[in-house]
């Protein structure tokens, strides 16, 4: 065998391995603190413009969000669907897909859960109804996502656009059902479906009996997805397909199936979010019941770099902000949606912090 006398060639322009300093951590923590304080400052300035003392408002928000157990459970309850909605983004993101359709997949999950309840309530054991609701919701969310997946692998339609459009269609399906076939005849002119029976609502736990089973389901799902992506051959192949689809195809991987399975898994998570929100919180379908969950989940996933465990943290943060919004309405008299300004600046701070690296965009 010939021995080659040339050393491995080195790159001519930039050093190949970016060096990471050890005092990086301190700088990173510092920049996070600055980012969050900055976001608070900007929103505070806006509140001051509206004649609300931002210091008082922030104290009220903090007190009523994190300082008592009732509102802490409220944060967990809000965060649970955000967490599942974020997983719906994170799994397809491993395959290089952009799922903007969590919103619609959640709605379809809620619809399926309601449909199962309408069909089975009183006919089979309530435990069975619950399981059927959760499974039905996952299937519905998965199918709604699969629609975008099929359009992508079959016709090359960008999934970011198609999932976005499917959101609006899902919402119209919901409105159609609760204004027509599933309209609650006992409702007082409000568009809504028949309420769930008490025994088919998800069981609750904790001192105030508000934390429902869905919170634990969401946490288990995060761990499950983390293991699935990290340790299975499927997770590896999905990553290859997402990193470079052409490379995956040339290595003989079933790219279309991988992409579809990623979207379907994500859709199932979103469907689950719809089911736990329906069966754990709302108890009936009504317009706008999950407004924004899908988009907030999308942002939570980006906030956490699509990492399932870090996503749990991001979902908690956004859950806390959402609860703080409610307190804003009660204590300061500002519309609850105003808190989106605070959320936006937190997200800007995080999204805009990553240096642009080749290949790091996904």
């Amino acid at each position: 065998m010939t021995v080659i006398d040339s050393p491995p060639e080195e790159i001519t322009v930039a050093p190949e391995a970016p060096t990471k300093g050890t005092n990086d951590l301190a700088r990173r923590v510092g920049s996070w603190v600055v980012a969050y304080l900055g976001a608070l400052a900007v929103f505070g300035a806006f509140m001051a413009l509206k004649g609300v003392n931002p210091f008082v408002a922030y104290r009220d928000m903090f007190d009523s969000t994190l300082m008592n157990s009732a509102s802490l459970s409220e944060v967990l309850i809000k965060a649970a669907p955000f967490l599942l909605a974020a997983l719906a983004v994170a799994v397809p993101a491993r395959g290089g897909l952009v799922n903007l359709g969590g919103e619609g997949q959640i709605v379809m999950g809620g619809i399926a859960a309601a449909g199962v309840a309408l069909g089975l309530e009183g006919k089979v054991a309530s435990g069975l109804v619950m399981v059927a609701m959760l499974v039905g919701a996952m299937v519905a969310g998965a199918l709604w996502a699969a629609l975008a997946g099929v359009l992508r692998v079959g016709a090359g339609i960008n999934e970011a656009i198609s999932t976005l459009l499917l959101n609006y269609i899902a919402i119209d399906v919901l409105l159609y059902l609760i204004s027509g076939p599933w309209k609650d005849s006992a409702g007082f002119g409000q568009l809504a479906s028949k309420p769930l029976a008490d025994e088919t609502r998800l069981p609750t736990f904790g001192s105030d009996g508000r934390i429902h089973l869905g919170v634990f389901i969401a946490m288990a799902a995060a761990v499950g997805i983390w293991l699935l992506l990290r340790s299975t051959s499927w997770g590896f192949q999905l990553r290859v397909a997402g990193g470079n689809g052409e490379a995956a195809r040339r290595a003989g991987l079933p790219v279309a199936k991988l992409l579809l399975s990623g979207l379907i898994t994500g859709g199932a998570m979103a469907g689950l979010a719809g089911a736990i929100h329906f069966a754990g919180v709302e108890g009936q379908l009504r317009p706008g019941m999950t407004f924004g969950f899908g988009y907030i989940g999308f942002l939570a996933s980006w906030l956490a770099g699509h990492h399932p465990i870090r996503i749990a943290g991001a979902a908690l943060l956004l859950g806390a902000i959402a609860v703080a919004g409610d307190s804003l309405q009660i204590d300061a008299g500002l519309p609850a949606a105003s808190v989106n300004v605070l959320m936006a600046f937190v997200l800007f701070a995080v999204l805009g912090k990553k240096p642009r690296l080749a290949g790091a965009s996904r």
């Binding site: 080659i4 790159i11 190949e16 051959s233 590896f236 470079n244 052409e246 995956a248 003989g252 080749a358």
Partner: protein, 517 residues
């Protein structure tokens, strides 16, 4: 003959003034000295050839002259005056123009739109007709025929190159730097380019041509300079005073190990590793990219594939490996018909590919060397639902020793590597598989001479081991050295299959351009 005997020339351009001159030019990237203490000059009315291996610093030197990089030491004189070139705009203002290897044109734009963008000034409106007329005039003056209305994406590489040269000249260049302009052209197209270069010279312009091909240097250059590992080992030499051996050892600095001369003749009764029958294939734009191709590669045979860039090589590569659907015809690998175009099916039949463009077709961002190599071996590494990474690491270490292409550390992320190191990973992966058919597209691109040699040996080793090798290259010398037979593509047709010992490079060039043998 030693380097010391390479004397500066005393040719006819001696009297013309230097348009550009550099003294002691040094550029470092980290610890790497890309160019060290380089002296070099170019005179008006001359064609100056800059020779050197890949990575010798030729492109770096030219980018210093064009203001893309700024030197760490040394000075640049234009028309005898020291100038700082902080940007290409500074260089252009002084009349220095550069034609890059990756042509700087926008494919979605027309020729006229591209040139209009490059022209300085010009007011608010884009005056299409005026620009188109200017292009036709400038083209006529140089003997180029260019359609200003054509979309660049529809032009051949040679045509794009002419547009690029025209663009540089129309923005007022007196010195034109051409970065390896011939690497993508057929011999006859090279002749066309050289005719154009001569007409530039006749107008008193200066031309620098970067190349590593000696016969081209001899055909066109008035003087030549040689870079090796960032040092100028010969500057301003008259080509008629040196022979090829001296030039090669000046470029390489050592003797290149020869290829093993004795090769077994491919026995006539060997089975076909690849049989392509009546294949038509559509290109990306829906055009017919391959017309009625019939081709057979026997086990233990190297079938070279020659052709001008874009003659259907890529489509042939993809059709054979199941990456591109066949319009008509069929493909047999090891006597089994590939039922449908499916890369998995081709792999299962023992077909392995070395891709033309690994960055876009094979490198997965975020994955390290081990993971890239495991990708071709997933089924045997499976452990339950997961993957046995410990065994994968062992296998890769063993393979690296065996193949001997010296990959970088196996936990390095491939996307961060230089082109040459990426190629080593691709080659190790391909040569590490027992295959019945190896399809290699430009396997030695971006490699230094020694690694290129090793790659060629590995190709021949596959041949000895009984694999059929389909070997696509743009380097006719390499093709003629390695191939048992050469299939020549022209415009998607098989123009002929020739045996290297029986024809010369011009005969092959003729086939590449659609002439008969």
């Amino acid at each position: 003959m030693s380097i010391a005997t390479l004397e500066p020339s005393a040719d006819r351009t001696k009297q013309s003034p230097s348009i550009i001159e550099v003294r002691g030019l040094t550029k470092r990237f980290g610890d790497l000295v890309a160019t060290g203490d380089v002296d070099f000059d170019v005179r008006s009315g001359e064609v100056h050839s800059l020779l050197g291996e890949n990575g010798a610093g030729k492109s770096t030197l030219m980018k210093l002259l064009y203001g893309v990089y700024q030197p760490d030491a040394g000075e640049i004189l234009v028309d005898g005056v020291v100038h700082r070139l902080d940007s290409p705009a500074d260089a252009r203002a002084l009349g220095i123009g550069m034609v890059f290897q990756d042509l700087r044109l926008i494919p979605a734009f027309t020729v006229a739109e591209n040139i209009a963008l490059s022209l300085p000034g010009g007011g608010f409106r884009y005056r299409r007709q005026a620009v188109e007329r200017q292009i036709l005039d400038a083209g006529a003056e140089l003997g180029f025929s260019v359609d200003p209305k054509a979309l660049v994406r529809h032009l051949s590489i040679g045509e794009r190159q002419r547009v690029e040269i025209l663009k540089v000249l129309m923005s007022g260049a007196r010195l034109v730097i051409l970065d390896e302009p011939t690497s993508v052209l057929a011999p006859q197209e090279v002749d066309g380019l050289f005719t154009a270069i001569r007409s530039l010279r006749a107008k008193g312009l200066a031309v620098v041509i970067i190349t590593h091909k000696l016969h081209e240097t001899r055909a066109i250059a008035d003087r030549l300079s040689i870079l090796r590992a960032g040092r100028m080992v010969g500057s301003g030499i008259d080509p008629t005073t040196v022979d090829d051996r001296a030039l090669i050892s000046a470029m390489v600095g050592r003797e290149v190990p020869p290829l093993p001369v004795e090769r077994s003749d491919p026995p006539a009764d060997r089975p076909a590793a690849l049989r392509v029958t009546g294949v038509h294939v559509r290109g990306d734009g829906g055009n017919t990219a391959l017309h009625d191709i019939h081709l057979e590669v026997k086990a233990g045979e190297v079938m070279g594939v020659a052709g001008v860039a874009g003659s259907g090589q890529r489509e042939l590569y993809e059709a054979v490996l199941g990456l591109r659907p066949l319009h008509t015809g069929d493909i047999h690998i090891a006597a089994v018909e590939m039922a449908k175009s499916d890369p998995g099916a081709a792999l299962a039949l023992g077909a392995v590919g070395i891709p033309e463009d690994p960055i876009s077709d094979a490198v997965v961002p975020g994955l390290d060397v081990t993971e890239h190599l495991a990708l071709s071996n997933l089924s045997s590494l499976r452990k339950g639902l997961g993957i046995d990474w410990a065994r994968a690491r062992e296998l890769v270490a063993e393979l690296d020793r065996q193949i001997g292409l010296r990959m970088v550390a196996h936990d390095r992320t491939v996307a961060d590597l230089s082109g040459g190191n990426v190629q080593r990973v691709m080659l190790t992966r391909a040569f590490g598989v027992d295959c019945t058919l190896l399809v290699a597209a430009y396997p030695s691109r971006g490699l230094d001479v020694a690694t290129t040699r090793r790659t060629q040996e590995l190709l021949l080793a596959q041949r000895e081991a009984g694999a059929g090798v389909l070997f696509i290259s743009e380097d006719l010398d390499e093709l003629m050295e390695l191939s048992d037979q050469i299939a020549v593509l022209h415009n998607g047709h098989l123009a002929g299959v020739v045996t290297p010992g029986e024809v010369d490079r011009y005969a092959i060039g003729q086939l590449m351009l659609g002439g008969s043998e």
